[in-house]
Amino acid sequence: MTDVAWAVDWVRRSAQVVAEHREELIELDRQIGDGDHGENLNRGFTAVVAKLDALEQAPETVGDVLKLVATTLMSTVGGAAGPLYGTAFLRASKAAATPELDSAGVVATLEAALEGIVARGKATTGEKTMVDAWTPAVEAAVARADAGGSPAEVLAAAADAATQGAQATIPLQATKGRASYLGERSVGHLDPGARSTELLLHAAAEAAA
């Protein structure tokens, strides 16, 4: 059930998976960026969990949880991932202002997140960014929901598509973000933002399973 408890579980699982993959994300970012993605995201989600733990009242809506994630990531992450994920969660929080999401609600939440990233990063597909993982994820979510899938199935489809989208960034040449300064040398590397997107969406799916 994709309710407030699910959202909280998603966030905690996200923090855990980011901590587990911290070194990997740092290494991916070191290859084509400034090497701070793993450290920054880990710092951000650690802070998010601390805020969740400190809450005196349980959040009323899924959006309340996501907004807490948004504002905390924005003020603690530091690198580009802060405002990008921060805006994603912020827009998502507005789309998820109910105690529970049905399949259409999950789709709307993911769509809002992608729109936030695109609005903030001004990136499109094929530029070797997290948009290359988010876009197929949203497309798969829409398709699964249209086919009558449950919220858990919609999230699973989104996560799997994000994995494929992330892998598809490897042969791309970066034309947005810090990696774009590398030009052709960015080819052959997995984009760290696409990889972290994949991790976060799998956390969402596992929390709903």
């Binding site: 920054n40 924005m74 003020s75 690198g79 802060g82 405002p83 903030r120």
Partner: protein, 250 residues
């Protein structure tokens, strides 16, 4: 109250250094540094940028933000997205080179330009500096001369020198109430780029907006123009006409 500037950099020292440089040319203008993370590490801090925007926009103030790399822009935009709409409406993010844009914006703010004027000054800085970079090679020699000692050219500094040394000279009085601030300086540099001539104003390279602004020429200042090259006369004619018209500001 003049428009304030906020310089957002990934590195605290970079932001603070740029503030020092810009403030030198614009005393009295509020210029705030918002560089690095709270612990001094490299990055841009939402809270630091938010605090700077809060300070700059207090008492109905307006501010232009200059940024270094991408995520500085993203952080600033995020702050504005979450900020009060009326505050956000008084803030602009300049698409401008960090240092040159900050200097140009500071001078414009000092000269009393409004929010859009300061923004335009910052954003014009990039193109103008790029133009200066593609001048004919001979301009560089001229710039070196302007930056170096006048003694490199025997003619320089001798007002009575006749025109048969190949130098076209003219003297004009600056009419603009706010002096030779960023916008007219930009106009001069842009105009001079169109002529095959090396032009100096009070010894400074007229193709460089930064050198012109450094003159800090106030209203009523005497501008001594010297030009050399195939189109020296045309360049001087165009420049004197622009000065007499107050660069369209009068």
């Amino acid at each position: 109250m003049s428009v304030a500037l906020i310089l957002v950099s990934h590195v605290r020292e970079l932001a603070e250094g740029a503030v020092r440089l810009a403030a030198q040319m614009a005393p009295g203008v509020t210029i705030l540094a918002a560089g690095g993370l709270e612990d001094g590490a490299i990055g841009t801090s939402f809270d630091t940028v938010e605090a700077a925007i809060g300070r700059a926009t207090a008492d109905e103030g307006a501010a232009v933000v200059l940024t270094d790399l991408g995520s500085a822009v993203l952080t600033t935009e995020s702050v504005l997205e979450l900020a009060d709409e009326q505050v956000a409406a008084r803030v602009r993010i300049a698409d401008a080179p960090f240092v040159e844009g900050a200097v140009a914006a500071a001078v414009a703010a000092h000269g009393g330009a409004g929010l859009e004027g300061v923004l335009a000054a910052a954003e014009a800085a990039g193109g103008l500096f790029a133009e200066a970079g593609v001048e004919p090679a001979s301009h560089h020699a001229d710039a070196a001369h302007a930056a170096g000692a006048d003694s490199a050219t025997p003619a320089a500094g001798v007002a009575e020198q006749t025109a048969d040394d190949g130098v076209v000279r003219a003297t004009r009085t600056l009419l603009n109430p706010q002096g030779l601030h960023a916008r007219p300086a930009a106009t001069v540099a842009r105009t001079m780029a169109g002529y095959d001539a090396h032009v100096r104003v009070n010894g400074s390279n007229a193709a460089s907006v930064l050198e012109l602004m450094k003159l800090a020429a106030p209203q009523g200042a005497e501008l001594r123009i010297e030009a050399e090259g195939p189109q020296a006369q045309e360049a001087v004619d165009a420049l004197t006409a622009a000065i007499d018209e107050g660069f369209g500001e009068l």
